[in-house]
């Protein structure tokens, strides 16, 4: 076979063209990798809030916490259901929470606003959610107008900073006394305030949005769900917390993937045409070399293969650029709307090696497709004609 060094060095002879073409392919690989990584990051963020031994109870028919509303007196019925774990003091591990969305101003913009989810929490929230840790300041004192904020939104909204105040509602200022982390889940994009503060601010007295409980074990869920849903009067529906978050993430991650793939397709057409033009020029320029190789006895197939390989090497150089860029993204975060909750959530790019590999393979495939017709042309060069030219 024709040595690959021949192709690699030939690519380097035409440095400028090679780099320009490779960058085109690199851009495609970058866009594809970025959207796959972001989609995976979204899934990770939204799903990581869900644990297998937790259940979430909503009003029947409500797909989201935001759309659900349950009367407070029902909460104790849920907590008393079989399978709900008891703490050392005998109290059930679970609580009702009230979720609302408010619009807040982004600093440094001209009054641009975005949605933030506010969660009214009970005193035992840190027992209920052991993944949540206060990393700065302290937890708010129950029954006060103190709040803590997820680390994902610190500084992203006016007043959302340790020690600062902002208005939960007009004329209802609250003070940020703590910042918490929640294992990268979407809780990190929420504001947590005392449930009574949220109730009175938004006129939701006597209501919660959801009840979250910890079960004795994941296997108790079916029994728990059965109890919740037999009494039609209660009008409740129970979900495994994990399933709930998975469903929540689907719309957004699919949207990002679809958008990414759409952009990728558009870009890849351009990049492929670029690769075709570059490889066609290479073939035209090297007629005599091809003719000589044929004269020496290299077959048409080996010429075809050699130029295809050259196109793939070209694409792989581009793919490497693209992957490098995509890898840098894993240090970046984006803040965007979660369509299920209309809440702005901060997501990371998940540098999943399988996804990066897939994007790279896609880039290499563009080399094969873009280089195919030029390689076919190279293979059909007649050695006699090439020598006469």
């Amino acid at each position: 076979m024709i040595p690959i060094a021949y192709n690699v060095r030939s690519l380097f002879v035409r440095k400028a063209t090679t780099i320009a073409t490779a960058l085109g392919i690199g851009l495609v690989v970058f866009v594809l990798a970025a959207s796959l990584m972001l989609g995976a990051g979204i899934k990770k963020t939204l799903v990581s809030g869900g644990r297998p031994d937790y259940a979430l109870v909503l009003r029947k028919g409500s797909d989201t916490e935001l759309a659900s509303s349950i009367e407070v007196r029902t909460v104790s019925l849920v907590l008393a259901a079989p399978g709900v774990k008891k703490a050392n003091d005998g109290a059930p591990v679970g609580s009702g929470e009230l979720v609302v969305v408010i619009t807040m101003e982004k600093p440094g913009t001209d009054g641009q606003v975005s949605n933030v989810q506010v969660r009214g929490i009970s005193d035992n929230v840190l027992t209920l959610r052991p993944d949540v840790k206060v990393i700065e300041g302290r937890a708010p004192t129950p029954g006060t107008d103190e709040v803590m904020v997820g680390r994902g939104i610190v500084g992203r909204f006016t007043g959302v900073e340790l020690g600062k105040s902002f208005e939960l509602k007009k004329n209802r200022p609250v003070k940020v006394v703590g910042v918490f982390e929640a294992g990268g889940s979407s809780f990190e994009s929420e504001i947590w305030a005392d449930i009574d503060t949220v109730r009175s601010s938004f006129g939701r007295e006597g209501l919660v949005s959801s009840v979250t409980v910890r079960l004795d074990s994941p296997s108790r869920f079916e029994a728990f769900k059965a109890v919740m849903e037999t009494d039609k009067q209660l009008g409740l529906e129970a979900f495994r917390e994990k399933d709930y978050y998975e469903k929540q993430s689907q719309g957004t991650s699919i949207f990002v993937w679809a958008l990414g793939i759409l952009i990728t397709i558009f870009f890849s057409i351009g990049a492929m045409i670029g690769a075709t033009i570059t490889m066609n020029a290479a073939v035209a320029q090297r007629q005599r070399e091809i003719g000589t190789l044929r004269a020496l006895g290299f077959s048409r197939v080996s010429i075809l293969f050699s130029f295809l390989l050259e196109a793939v090497v070209l694409a792989a150089i581009g793919g490497a650029f693209g992957l490098f860029g995509a890898f840098l993204l894993s240090f970046a975060e984006v803040s965007m709307m979660n369509f299920a909750t209309f809440q702005e959530v901060t997501f990371g790019f998940d540098p999943n090696p399988v996804l990066l590999g897939a994007a790279f393979v896609f880039g290499a495939a563009m080399g094969v497709l873009g280089g195919f017709f030029p390689a076919l042309r190279a293979a059909s060069v007649s050695p006699v004609d090439a020598m006469r030219a």
């Binding site: 076979m1 024709i2 040595p3 060094a5 021949y6 060095r9 030939s10 380097f12 002879v13 005599r288 070399e289 003719g291 000589t292 190789l293 044929r294 004269a295 020496l296 006895g297 290299f298 077959s299 048409r300 050695p383 006699v384 020598m387 006469r388």
Partner: protein, 229 residues
């Protein structure tokens, strides 16, 4: 000039014609050529431009097929072979020397010479060894790692000759091998070809315009308008 013939024909053309078609217009470039070249011969082919010299050489080398007639080279009926068969025939039997050297510009002298060996299934160190021997034969063992553009025209042609002999082919075809060279370099190349014929018993067919080059060959044949005269 003596030649190392032993009486068996290495190349045999019987009524070989070649016609090119350009937009339905037929151009008969070779007209029923009968020719026999003995094993170990060193023959020069002369004639005016357009007389069909390169066309004839290409047929002998298995690069092209005759339109009619029978063409036997090194015992093979190459006139009847399909392209991929002829490619294997060329790799095994023919060494090419071109007027414009035709080295791969991105490969070093050694890599250029190794190129035809890649078609034979040889281990890398064996290829390397053979390439070095061939480069030694042409006196370029000290320029093995140079790229073609770092060599003079005469040196490039010597690398091309090393490439032509590295697979130890029976036949060397040379189309105006000294056409682009000054007198002194041309003489070096002609000395080398003569040595390949005498010492290594290669059958050589050389197309040339240069009477001084033709003089070195054992036989000079002339083509005129597609006929041997």
């Amino acid at each position: 000039m003596t030649q190392a013939t032993n009486g068996t024909p290495m190349i045999r053309l019987e009524k070989v014609s070649k016609t090119f078609y350009r937009d339905k217009e037929a151009l008969e470039v070779l007209k029923s050529i009968d020719l026999e070249i003995q094993e170990g011969a060193y023959e020069a082919l002369m004639g005016p431009s357009g007389s069909g010299k390169s066309t004839l050489l290409n047929l002998i080398a298995g690069l092209d097929r005759p339109t009619s007639g029978k063409l036997t080279v090194a015992g093979a009926d190459i006139g009847a072979m399909a392209e991929d068969q002829r490619a294997r025939f060329r790799a095994a039997n023919i060494g090419f020397v071109f007027q414009t050297y035709n080295l791969m510009p991105v490969l070093t002298a050694r890599e250029n010479v190794e190129l035809p060996l890649l078609l034979a299934k040889l281990p890398a160190d064996e290829r390397r060894k053979r390439a070095e021997i061939a480069l030694k034969v042409v006196g370029l063992e000290h320029r093995m790692d140079h790229l073609p553009r770092q060599l003079s025209g005469g040196q490039e042609q010597r690398v091309a000759i090393a490439r032509a002999i590295v697979t130890d082919p029976k036949i060397i075809v040379a189309d105006e091998p000294t056409g682009d060279l000054d007198r002194e370099s041309a003489n070096e190349i002609l000395n080398l070809l003569e040595r390949l014929n005498r010492e290594f018993k290669k059958t050589i067919v050389m197309v040339t315009h240069d009477p001084a080059a033709a003089e070195r060959a054992g036989t000079v044949r002339r083509l005129d308008k597609g006929n041997l005269v």
